[in-house]
């Protein structure tokens, strides 16, 4: 984590030192000139995951990770006040998600359905898939690092229209898969991949309908009206309801989008 933050900060300062010609700033201005505003229509590929930070010690090994969904369509309006500073706000519609397969040890689970509770400590393989459809509304400050490069950062609010969260548990590659009922000394209930145990289907009901986070976006003006961009939405709020006991750690959505945009 520290390395990544350091890299971003270093890139930022390097960019400021770029010594460009004034006419280049004009040429690559919002559309023309140095001030003014416009719109950016974005099409992107979304990639990321919803994860506890840091990973809890119960997670021993990530066997597999693959994105689900991965489409983002958005529009941002922007206004530059000075040569370097401006603001933008927009709406990014997304369909994002992921699938992961991880080995866990002594992972506390608390499953409740229709008043029935199964709880205990699971060791084995845990497979999780989640997908989210929604819209992210960012409100960003924009800084022109160079004639062709913009960086924007600020808070966002995501509103989810539909969320899925499913998964199952079974034995790992060494054939170890079991739940210790209630506590580590409780009955040992074996699990196997021939008859995996799915998560209850009520998990999505326990997900927050909104999320808050920080967005950071890099735009590169490739052509007069075409941007290439990369942005990161880092969720700062737990995806689960506060009283949801099935998962004992907080999970945050962290998704990056790369794509192309039409700039006007």
């Amino acid at each position: 984590m520290k390395h990544i933050v350091f890299t971003i900060v270093a890139l930022f300062f390097l960019s400021i030192s770029a010594n460009a010609q004034e006419d280049r700033w004009e040429k690559w201005g919002p559309t023309t000139g140095l001030k003014g505003g416009g719109f950016i229509a974005r099409v992107g590929y979304v990639l990321g995951g919803t994860t506890p930070i840091p990973l809890p010690a119960e997670i021993r090994k990530v066997n597999g990770f693959s994105p689900r969904g991965g489409i983002s369509l958005g529009i941002d309006g922007y206004k530059m006040f000075t040569k370097r500073w401006g603001v933008s706000a927009g709406a990014h519609f997304f369909w994002e998600g992921f699938h992961t397969n991880a080995d866990v040890k002594n992972y506390y689970v608390w499953l409740e359905q229709e008043g029935e509770v199964t709880k205990g400590y699971f060791t084995g393989t845990n497979v999780t898939s989640t997908e989210m459809w929604g819209v992210t509304l960012p409100l960003l400050a924009t800084f022109r690092m160079s004639p062709k490069w913009n960086v924007s950062a600020g808070p966002y609010l995501s509103i989810y229209f539909h969320q899925t969260f499913s998964g199952e548990v079974f034995d790992n590659d060494e054939g170890i898969g079991y739940l210790r009922e209630d506590k580590p000394t409780g009955a040992k209930i074996l699990m196997s991949r021939e008859n995996p145990t799915p998560y209850p289907d009520n998990f999505p009901e326990k997900m927050q309908p909104v999320a808050l986070g920080i967005e950071i976006a890099f735009d590169w003006k490739a052509m007069k009206h075409l941007n290439v961009f990369g942005l990161l939405d880092w969720g700062m709020t737990d995806i689960w309801d506060r009283n949801f006991e099935a998962i004992t750690f907080k999970m945050y959505p962290i998704y990056a989008t790369i794509g192309a945009a039409y700039r006007y």
């Binding site: 990544i4 994860t51 010690a57 029935e116 199964t118 580590p184 409780g186 209850p200 990369g230 790369i258």
Partner: protein, 403 residues
């Protein structure tokens, strides 16, 4: 330079995934298996395999059985325990000392040893007892009335005392499995319950009822739990992965049963469903009651224990007595809408003859080479999670007559 930042952004989730923390110490503290080491085990034990025991996760009392006229002395004992855990032996004052695996202990005169296993993280521990007891010679004939029952240590469900000749002297059933799926169930909501004062003579009897296993049961396609009662082992660990294997039937028996009598009363549930919960048209649920005698050791000396897969079909079965049912040509159970078991809503005494398929070897019989099963179910296809929720079988006054 800025390409690098995009790469960094995309790589971030992957980097996060690689931040695996150091593995935590184990929290479990089980004795998984115990073996006694003897030069010539069959002098003391009925079977060579009786010197090794796999300890199921819910068991705390480890008991070995030796022939009644023998005595065991000091023998080396080996335990298999959870990785990283530590095993202590407790003296009479409760003082714990580290137990060196494989060291000898004096097990004579049915002395009970107390062991404590402490987990690698030192937070959890389990207490076990270990003893070697003498076989209690049985007279053969059994009379069973299900009058002695009490709540288990968790207070969730009832257990019943069984004749001493049965494994650990307790009747087994699927209640421990039902507990996992239906945490909210009260003791009288379980599939196997006592019915106070409801016996044919006004005494307590046993009631088996096929119950809905609720949302967790549906999740794993185990939508119902037949009420059940049998002698043997119920290994709840296998309830999800291999439910048929969880019910391990039979206890060694040294007599030749010839007739089985029992009082029964049955009310079928109305909706006979398959494993997916779908109605099976034109099928009436049936109860089951049976007695089985089987050879409990194969030619190589390996232990044979019948389970839900083969309790009524194993080639090791030498004698069988069962309520009448229809069968398919291949011998499998045939569902029907007009069963012939004859059990009605009124109490009746049934006499079920025990029919022999093979000659009994008297010497093998005397040396506990056969095991006896007495089994009941409120839904005869309950092992396959088929039946009618609400089917009720009442049982009382069992008599087993032996030669």
């Amino acid at each position: 330079m800025n390409k690098a930042s995009i790469v960094a952004l995309v790589a971030m989730p992957i980097l996060l995934a690689s931040c695996i923390k150091a593995e935590q110490a184990n929290t479990e503290c089980d004795i998984e298996a115990v073996s006694l080491h003897l030069e010539d085990p069959t002098n003391l034990f009925y079977h060579e395999y009786d010197t090794i025991q796999t300890v199921i996760s819910t068991e705390n009392d480890i008991v070995f059985v030796i022939r009644s006229y023998t005595n065991i002395q000091s023998v080396p004992v080996t335990f298999r325990i959870t990785n990283g855990a530590t095993l202590y032996v407790k003296d009479d004052n409760g003082v714990e000392t580290l137990f060196q695996n494989g060291s000898s202990i004096d097990l004579s005169n049915e002395r009970v040893y107390h062991f404590r296993v402490v987990s690698e993280d030192r937070v959890w521990s389990r207490d076990y007892s270990l003893s070697v007891v003498h076989d209690i010679p049985s007279e053969g004939n059994l009379t069973i009335d299900f009058e002695k029952y009490y709540l288990d240590s968790s207070g969730k469900y009832y257990i019943w005392d069984a004749p001493d000749v049965f494994t650990d002297g307790i009747w087994k059933n699927g209640n421990p499995g039902f507990k996992i799926s239906k945490s909210s169930a009260k003791p009288m909501d379980y599939p196997s319950t006592p019915a106070a004062g409801q016996g044919p003579d006004g005494s307590d009897c046993l009631k088996l009822e096929t119950c809905d296993t609720g949302p967790f049961g549906r999740m794993v396609n185990m939508r119902l739990a037949s009420g059940s009662m049998f002698n043997g082992i119920f290994n709840v660990s296998l309830a999800l992965t291999d439910a048929l294997k969880a019910t391990q039937f039979g206890s060694p028996f040294t007599h030749k049963p010839i007739q089985f009598r029992v009082w029964l009363r049955f009310e079928p549930g109305s909706f006979f469903q398959d494993r997916l919960g779908q109605l099976v048209e034109g099928v009436m649920d049936e109860p089951d009651a049976y007695v089985v005698l089987y050879r409990n050791e194969d030619a190589e000396g390996n232990k044979i224990q019948l389970d839900g897969n083969d309790v009524l079909s194993s080639p090791h079965i030498v004698a069988l007595g069962r309520l009448p049912h229809y069968y398919n040509e291949d011998g499998t159970d045939k569902l029907s809408n007009a069963p012939i078991h004859g059990v009605t809503n009124e109490w009746q005494e049934f006499t079920i003859p025990v029919e022999y398929r093979a000659e009994i070897d008297a010497e093998v019989l005397e040396n506990k080479g056969y095991s006896l099963i007495i089994g009941f179910a409120s839904s005869w296809q309950g092992a396959h999670f088929m039946g009618a929720i609400g089917s009720k079988l009442y049982i009382d006054n069992i008599q087993l007559f032996c030669e």
